[in-house]
Amino acid sequence: MISDDEFFYGHKACGGCGGSLAVRIALKVLGERTLLTLPAGCMSAVSFNYPQMSYANNAIISAFAGTGAVMSGLKAGAEAMGLKDYHVLGIAGDGGTADIGIQALSGLIDRNDEGIYICYDNEAYMNTGIQKSGLTPFGATTTTTPAVPGGKGNIKPKKNLFEIVAAHGIAYAATASVGYIEDFAAKVKRASEVKGTSFIHVLAPCPTGWGIDTAETIEVAREVVDTGLWYLAEYYDGEYHLNRKPEEFKDVSHYIKRQGRFKHLNDEDINEIIRSRDKTWDRIAGFKQPGK
């Protein structure tokens, strides 16, 4: 299903970067005739350093808050110019999507302009040096939520971006993880076939910001799903669909303790994270369940 060609290479992303893997796979699904826009963030910072361009397809940088708007412009411009057989793609990080770019994203979905918006979520402003974003999870230490002795780091839960997006009545939305790459690729494919706006929120570990080994990215990205701390789901035809329901959740404590950003958390903090996870799963019990 995906191309053997590479469309994103020669870039300067860190070893083990989950975000760059998501970009690479998405472009392998969508191909060379993709009009891509990216705002400020890791994936533009590592790839647009003139004269060392890293995209084989058309790509343009957006102002940080403007991804959704540039996508609408690309689509309108492409129609006006009579282009055929192309995809409009926006790729932004968690801060660029859930914080500064959420207004433009909301406008894009409201207009239902055809295009695929992918949020690669590494759970903090990594490009600027690991500051808290609206998608930083409870308990993570960042440079703006430092875990001082006795402190917890970030005390706010992660914004529920997937359901915020779905609440617009979007044509297609999904969550994914680079740990389940076939699932992610299939969702990109599905998004590309939608008439209207589609959105994929893909969890993408950042070894530098998370305090894991560069070889652990995939493992950690699977574990976050297997522990139930991240769920794989879709929204279409006005309904939520859960894609994967673990028979039994894997050990949350193991997921937490292997990451430097959570090192300061104690057993009670971990229990808090488990309670929060269970509450989420109670809520999403209302989604259409896998195989049903």
């Binding site: 910072a45 003139y50 084989a56 957006s62 102002a63 808050a65 403007g66 412009g73 309108a76 006006a80």
Partner: protein, 393 residues
């Protein structure tokens, strides 16, 4: 055949954009810009204009959507005013630095606080440095004509920069005047569709809006600067061609009036210029050699031409509908810099007025000329048309 219609400045601008066949329009409403985008939306809905109208959710997105469309090669339009212009400010340097030839109408309006929907020039003048070409028009006819000419200027190969055309809020945007609307064939002969190599193209993929490090960043900006300066000549060529085809023209970056032998010259931007010319006529009847200069293009700034025009004057005044708080009017700063570079020691006076929509009367303008003739005022910046005495400390 052209037709004459009684329309507002906003509507005249919309007619110009229709004739220029803008393919993509993205806009967010703000008083007193609204009529231009309402008219365009009607034209698109009624099928008079084959364009895609993007209903954006902010001015920031208006400019970003315009950039996306322009990047694919489409002729693109947006419009804003005041806080809207400030809200999209960071996008302005993206668009100019990326060399996207977007045309934007700005309805000049005061900036908050205090909140005001009425006109002055602080919005656009505060963004002189954003890399756009800035044009100021005087009436509804010029608004229509410059909407068309702006694309010829913006898309010229030696320029490839966005153009902001400024209309005084309400005074121009909402005042009805008879306007000659050229027919489509005439404008098509003047302005063919945009045809550019500089675009995103699936047949020839490129990266646009790139990062450039210190080793080349300054050079990229020098190219931008030179492209802007090219507009000083190109605007004359564009206008010559427009005059030949439509029978109507405006000249270049400056519009001068009775300046050749003038002792006292008053400089202005936009709609107030007509009143200054009227006062110059009146003073000439009294035997006073008065003249007027309307700066039609603030960026690039017509330094050399201004030096030549002002050379023989005894005194030069500037009416600034803006104030750079803590210093002086911005037009005055620019005029003084030109005179300094021209080794000129002509006394100059700054008259700040029209702030927040305050009317500038013929009597105010007469007062400006009298101040120049008598060597007053003592202070370099004089506020004109004030109704409350400044008795604060």
């Amino acid at each position: 055949m052209s037709e004459t219609r009684f329309i507002s400045g906003d509507e005249a601008f919309a007619q110009g954009i229709r004739l220029a066949r803008a393919l993509v329009i993205s806009a967010y409403p703000i008083t007193p810009q609204t009529i231009v985008v309402e008219r365009l939306a009607e034209m698109v809905e009624e099928g008079q204009l084959d364009s895609r109208f993007i209903h954006v959710e902010s001015e920031h997105s208006a400019m970003m959507a315009a950039m996306g469309a322009s990047a694919v090669g489409a002729r693109t339009f947006t419009a804003t005013s005041s806080q809207g212009l400030l809200y999209m400010a960071e996008c302005l340097s993206y668009v100019s630095g990326g060399r996207f030839p977007i045309v934007m109408m700005n309805a000049n309006r005061a900036t908050a606080l205090p909140w005001s929907i009425y006109g002055d020039h602080r919005d656009s003048l505060s963004l002189l440095d954003c890399g756009w070409i800035q044009i100021y028009v005087e009436d509804a006819q010029e608004a229509l004509d410059m909407a068309v000419q702006a694309y010829a200027l913006a898309e010229a190969e030696e320029i490839r920069l966005p153009v902001m055309v400024n209309l005084d809020g309400f005074i121009l945007t909402h005042t009805y005047e008879p306007v000659d609307i050229p027919d489509q064939e005439t404008i098509d002969a003047f302005l063919p569709g945009r045809d550019t190599w500089d675009r995103l193209d699936p047949e020839n993929p490129v990266s646009m809006a790139v990062t450039v490090g210190p080793e080349l960043n300054e050079e990229i900006n020098i190219l931008h600067h030179k492209a802007s300066i090219n507009a000083l000549d190109t605007i004359k060529k564009v206008d010559d061609k427009y005059r030949k085809i439509t029978g109507r023209g405006y000249g270049g970056a400056l519009r001068t009036y009775l300046t050749e032998d003038a002792d006292y010259i008053l400089i202005s931007l936009g709609s107030i210029s007509g009143l200054i010319r009227e006062e110059a006529d009146r003073l000439r009847d009294e035997g006073i050699r008065a003249g007027a200069v309307s700066i039609r293009m603030m960026r690039p700034f017509p330094r050399d031409e201004l030096i030549r025009v002002l050379k023989g004057a005894r005194a030069v005044g500037v009416i600034d509908k803006d104030i750079s708080f803590g210093y002086e009017g911005t037009v005055y700063t620019n005029v003084n810099s030109a005179l300094m570079q021209g080794r000129s020691h002509i006394p100059t006076y700054d008259f700040v007025g029209g702030i927040g929509g305050r009317d500038i009367s013929l009597a105010d303008i007469e007062e400006c000329f009298k101040d120049m003739m008598s060597g007053r005022p003592e202070e370099s910046v004089k506020f004109i048309g004030t109704e409350v005495e400044d008795d604060i400390g």
